[in-house]
Symmetry: C3
Subunit: 138 residues, 3 copies
């Protein structure tokens, strides 16, 4: 569902995620564009059918979360190349190297900006929030 | 107090909050607009007279914090309908349902984007930071 | 290294930091501009030669981190006067007053917006992320 005008566009959901988000009871919008910046809701590496964190630890969950963002961006006519900033929250700081490996494998240079801190999470081992630009960074 | 030009507008305080913020010794600006996006300082559910967290737990503090943001947005000619993103930090993750209830009661569809993580806080049980758009999302 | 067009400009590194960031293996971009907003990667108070947190505690590390941001902003033709928002993560919440003192000494009124929460960190005692505007706030 898309709402908005020239200055703002609200993507309450995107086609590929609509069923999953409804099933999970998520009411926050998936993405909202203001000028040429697109803000997103934070996501973690959950199975979109069950709402449970997927197995495999921080690295696997990071990769899965970025795949969901990639799908969302695809629905909006963009890709991970449009991401300009990634805010990461890690339950276990000792998994930073694992997260860093996924970051450098999934994204390509020039990379997005990034901030990583530790935080307890409601579900899963890593929470990612992205900010994107209508024009890709590469 | 308002500073700025066409590209940027700095709201060091807003009329309804000026006295309280001065009394609490808060020097960070309340809100700064760049293009059509308005950035805000994070807030928690404190009594603006005393600086102490209000009683009633996470849900009550969340509601109070959003009321303060609503007042600030009102001073700027906007409302909670202009909020595009909410970043929430919870001291007790088990209070997520309480926070989620307030979020869905106070905002209306289409909802803002949202990220919620756990974090120790200086005051109170929930810290909220909002980002708004000059044009409302609904 | 600068990539981009009129809508987006990617600063993978900036001249004064290029050697240090390469040595530390940091692949995230230093700063990316979308419209008139510039997003930055989070930084902590590390010695750029060694990657180790500098001595002196939270206040000293906060001051050092802001100096690195000041250098980066200088490379981009800006200064700390262009900062519109500071997101701070503190390992020890009892150091808030120390951080607040540095914030009010290093920045000048009208101040940026600010959010401060607690968080475990990979290196150091304080992590700062800034958002800037192409036009200074003062």
């Amino acid at each position: 569902m898309l709402y908005g005008s020239t200055m703002i566009k609200v993507h309450a959901t995107t086609p590929r995620l609509e069923k999953a988000l409804g099933r999970l009871g998520i009411k926050a919008s998936t993405a909202i564009q203001v000028d040429n910046t697109i803000y997103f809701s934070g996501l973690t590496g959950v199975d979109l059918e069950t709402g449970q964190a997927i197995p495999g630890g921080t690295g696997a969950q990071a990769r899965h979360t970025l795949q969901i963002f990639s799908d969302i961006l695809g629905d909006l006519g963009m890709s991970l190349d449009n991401v300009v900033k990634v805010n990461a929250h890690l339950v276990n700081l000792e998994d930073f190297a694992e997260w860093n490996d996924v970051f450098t494998e999934v994204f390509e240079a020039p990379y997005p900006c990034r901030t990583t801190v530790g935080a307890p999470l409601i579900v899963g081992l890593i929470e990612l929030e992205i900010t994107a630009s209508l024009e890709p960074r590469r």
